[in-house]
């Protein structure tokens, strides 16, 4: 579980995060949504420890990040898996090399143990014939699956995803969403996804946090997001005609 208590983050004069508090539970898919510039990426980077908040605290299963030593912070980071927006695979390594990388860096496993683990996770993300291909030789969807495999190869407690669907076709996007949700439940991971994609919200969102201008504007479940009267949320969620119609149908059905 991750507890966020009143975090603030500024860059020069720009006050990006203005005091966000929330809780992300284990085994749940948590989604952070909001318009561009609302502070989602900065918030995610604070959770990852890439940015240090000026005020407030982030507590990972009882461990307050800011009070940890450098060694403890690095150990905690090894419990985190991250799927970046552009996958961030290492260009110079094959798919197998990318997935094996954290094992080589942080474990003393033998070559065969590492290969077994790599095969297991690549099979889990439905990639079996791509071991020796380079990132440039595979599709965007496959790159995302390799990124997920790399993120889970160390059995992380926390999985962070920054716009995992960006640049993917709707069908592949659904596959990636479902894969993340299945992995979250299977390994009892705390998963936090930063997204713009309302399909993802509907598909896998168990807890949704809506950010606006660096503040938590709303939080709830995917069922509650349909019922909310919060204007900022409804403007964001129903910005597409499809979702306007879905809401209309929902309201008509309720009446």
């Amino acid at each position: 579980m991750i507890e966020v208590n009143d975090i603030h983050k500024s860059f020069g004069d720009a006050h990006i995060l203005k005091g966000i508090s929330t809780t992300f539970e284990n085994g749940k898919t948590n989604l952070i949504i909001g318009q561009s510039g609302s502070g989602k990426t900065v918030f995610l980077k604070c959770l990852l420890g890439l940015f240090s908040p000026e005020k407030g605290s982030i507590v990972y299963d009882g461990k307050t990040y800011s009070s940890l030593t450098e060694k403890e912070k690095r150990a905690l980071r090894q419990e985190m898996g991250m799927v970046f927006q552009g996958s961030a695979l290492f260009d110079s390594m094959t798919v197998e090399g990318n997935v094996k990388f954290p094992l080589e860096m942080f474990t003393n496993q033998s070559k065969s143990e590492m290969e077994d683990r790599v095969n297991t996770v690549l099979k889990r993300v439905n990639l079996v014939d791509a071991h020796h291909k380079y990132p440039a030789e595979i599709s965007g969807g496959m790159q995302k699956r390799v990124a997920i495999a790399r993120a889970i190869v160390m059995n992380p407690k926390y999985l962070f995803c920054d716009e995992p669907n960006s640049g993917l076709d709707p069908k592949t996007a659904i596959l990636i969403d479902n894969l993340i949700k299945e992995i979250t439940e299977e390994f009892d991971i705390t998963t936090i996804i930063n997204t713009h994609d309302m399909n993802s919200v509907m598909q896998i969102g168990e807890k949704i946090l809506f950010l606006k201008d660096g503040l938590k504007e709303w939080e709830g479940t995917k069922n509650e997001i349909f019922k909310t009267d919060n204007e900022a949320v409804t403007n964001f969620v129903y910005s597409s005609d499809l979702f306007k119609k879905v809401r209309q149908m929902y309201i008509e059905e309720r009446n």
Partner: protein
Amino acid sequence: MNYLASIGSYAIMIREVFKKPTKWRIMKSLILKEIDELVYGSLGIIIFISFFIGAVVAIQTALNLTNPIIPRSLIGFATRQSVILEFAPTFVSIIMAGKVGSYITSSIGTMRVTEQIDALEVMGVNSLNYLVFPKIIAMLFYPFAIAISMYVGVFGGWIAGVFGGFLTSADFVSGLQTDFVPFHIAYAFIKTLIFAFIIATIPSFHGYYMKGGALEVGKASTTSFVWTSVVIIILNYLLTQLLLG
């Protein structure tokens, strides 16, 4: 003020490079890869340029020797002195600042743009040690390339001098042996080692701390070449004053 901040950031970067080392098993393969990319991969251009510059130095000296009192062996002497003292260590280093430096800046800069450096940091890897340390160690082999440059440069001078009909082979060899100061070789290699460190670290700094996208990677490569060259030229002056002055 910006320059001061950059110098401070550079110093902090150098300190971080030597902190929390990467596993030796992985570092070993990274170092070998960088030796191949940075040093071995540059031998071709170094040999090519050295040969022709050595040849041109010999021809220019020969064409300017109009006084019959001055011995023709001076061509060999001038070629040796020019190549060993300045051309091989300094001129080749400036060329390497372009070739190797832009490669380092663009490869690290691309990793920054595509979030690969963030991925390393999230995993708990000291990205500066992982990316920059192998380049520094690989560049310790750079003096070997400069030794080859010296040899090929002098050889180029011999070919141009003898086959161009400016002097005999015996005169050239005699000139090479005239007033030879062994410390000049040491001076050249001391400079080379310092330039090697500069070529490995300044382009890494520009790549690592760059912001923006693909266009900025190109700009960072150009900036890194300019600054690496400027630092090499200034250090060349200071080291010459310090070691030979």
